[in-house]
Symmetry: none
Subunit: 235 residues, 4 copies
């Protein structure tokens, strides 16, 4: 018999009910933010959609921004969690890369509303909160980089590739999904992912080297200081 996870002092079912209600409201809020944008959404909109009055929201939350933060944090953490599956994936670097692409896109698709809110509204968060998300988010980019570095070490990824820049581009590409993915589209997520995998892996793999000698200038290895946020970070 599982115990209620935390804070069990009393009124366990009561507390859980509040928790559930709160989650309901957050879901409602996410959907409205998704549809109208954060700034264009009033607390009244949220309250009405959740079936209570404006003022009553403040039982669950302290400021309107709290809604946004909770939504973004949850979305972000979910995205980071997909990395775990990539880590556990058995295969070489290229296969892991393919796995990452698939997981990333799958997560987007399954969480389109919150993911979109995250990407659209990240910047309205307070600097402090932005920093919290950003810190976690760097881990994602770091993971991609380490994957690419490992691939170079293993010889399956072209050595002339600038890992920092390419990882940014790759993540940027995947992160654009919320802008074009259509829930009822003609392709399954898997099909979309496969297509991306094809191009990305071919792009970075060493055995498929394309002679870009002519067009590429000599690359110094200096890093781009403030690269793309990680998976879901956008600032």
């Amino acid at each position: 018999m599982a115990r209620p996870p935390r804070d069990t002092k009393r009124a366990p079912s009561g507390e859980r009910k509040v928790f559930r209600r709160r989650q309901e409201i957050l879901d409602v809020a996410a959907r409205i933010f998704y549809e109208k944008g954060y700034d264009a959404t009033s607390t009244r909109d949220i309250a009405e959609a959740a079936g209570l009055l404006k003022g009553s929201l403040y039982y669950y939350v302290e400021t309107k921004e709290d809604f946004l933060f909770e939504i973004i944090r949850t979305s972000h953490e979910g995205a980071l969690a997909t990395l775990e599956r990539v880590r556990l994936f058995e295969g070489d670097v290229l296969q892991k890369l393919a796995c990452l692409v698939r997981e990333h896109l799958a997560y987007f698709v399954q969480n389109l509303v919150t993911t979109s809110v995250y990407f659209r509204e990240f910047r309205v968060l307070s600097p402090e909160r932005r920093a919290i998300i950003a810190a976690e988010g760097d881990a994602y980019l770091e993971f991609v980089r380490s994957l690419l570095f490992a691939g170079q070490r293993d010889g399956v990824i072209a050595p002339e590739i600038d890992v920092r820049l390419v990882s940014i581009g790759l993540v940027g590409m995947l992160n654009s999904a919320w802008l074009w993915y259509q829930p009822g589209g003609a392709r399954s997520t898997d099909e979309i992912a496969d297509e991306f995998v094809k191009v990305i892996v071919a792009g970075v793999a060493s055995n498929g080297a394309f002679d870009t000698a002519g067009s590429a200038s000599k690359l110094r290895s200096a890093a781009v200081e403030r690269p793309v946020a990680a998976l879901p970070r956008q600032d």
Copy 2:
């Protein structure tokens, strides 16, 4: 040589003066939108930065949204104009593709403020105005597609690539630049572009084909109905 009949004394310099002042204000507005976001920017912020009073802005503009629209439209049209240079570029498809990547990134870098405002705030535009931009914007994606199709016809681009999806991914990748590009970064735009070119071209080129057969599921050829917006479109 006859002089233009009337309006000559005042109108040209006069009209130009309003025009110039208006442009000044638009530039100021763009910068503030860039720094604080559209919704967080008050008309008073703009007015003060431009050296007039709140109300005086309305001599140049009818609504606050007009500022945004003007900024976005200009940014968007500038981006579309880069396609002309790609069209005129002499070379095969892969070289043209490389050219497009360079021009795209160069435009972003040189117009970071307006481009960023465009991407961040596109959705606050009224549906009508969004539609205006979107309509023009489809041309960009269409161009990329025709380029890839031509490459497949010429045999330089892998035939198994789904042009629609890949063009979306490619454009999505380039469009993410505003999120990570740092004006004073260690890399020149050319270097960054070269890096992207390397990966992209390698990714789509047929001669460097990577065997993705294992990872790719069977692809049906149905199109994605409403794929990513064009270059600068985002909705």
Copy 3:
């Protein structure tokens, strides 16, 4: 005796309270509109007079025009309601006509503020709202007409009278009351009404159908202090 199931504890007194407060504010607004005119009255004026802040008005109303509409609608419906008493009045057509004049004037006098606001500001209402009022309002004129027509049928009203035109003139005359009626004037409403009755009935009655002397109460000769402006004056 079962109590109404829910909402009973709070709702009735609660709802009534808002309702009452709203009515208070409407009354205050009517008075200020009466004194300064609608356009010259700011929401701040209303709020201050009602003892709240500008913004707080919008808890009770959605736009400033709502105040006006509510005032006018109430005034209008009250006026229409007087017709009921005329309908129930026992007597011949001429006596009913006399009754109508008295009721009409009595209503004006007892509701001078709202009636005046109605007449002064009717045109600032939106076309939609104007139409709502107007639709109801036609009933009044229609009633007067049917009364006059009935009188012609009965032979008590001169057959050569154009009922449509005369009813307009009659109503126009009564409706001018708000322009000249003085609350503290030397004449009672009854006396004023009698005077009008005399002239109107004499004006429309067939020869000999109405005994002027009988219907008039004893008139004192005191003047109405601030009567209607002259020809075109209206204040």
Copy 4:
């Protein structure tokens, strides 16, 4: 050869031109006030309709209210001038009364725009200006009264009538014309006037003093399409 009336020191034609232009602008303003109401009309509306810019109006006028005052004053003086014709009319009191009704209505019809503006907007004038108009205006009512008193002296007007009240009612009736008169209506002004004359004269005349049948011109029975609003309707 008539000399320019006043202020002939110099630039007679120049001054006249300004005068004419000013009158043009006043006419334009009157029409817009008539259509939209004074408060809803901006100086820009007037300027545009007159073919110049907002600021340029102030060459002709010092404040927006000046437009209104000029319009109302002109309208008012024109109305008063009709009294002259009534004074000169040869006939007994009842005939003079009939003449007054006709002149009054004729003036309204021929000056519907300015008359309506006068009635609608009189109250937005400053107290000082209102007083100016009002002072002149009392003469009108005074004239009507003296007419009725004379009629009582001559025995053609019923002695039991309260002249003050009845004159108010009579004028109120005539003054309501702007609310219901329709330029393209089925009745001529004369026909309308005759109808009013019939009732009014019958209403005030001593028994048998006035032959109703004789004074009325032949009446067609066509209806007035959009007559006065109902009781409290005013549009």
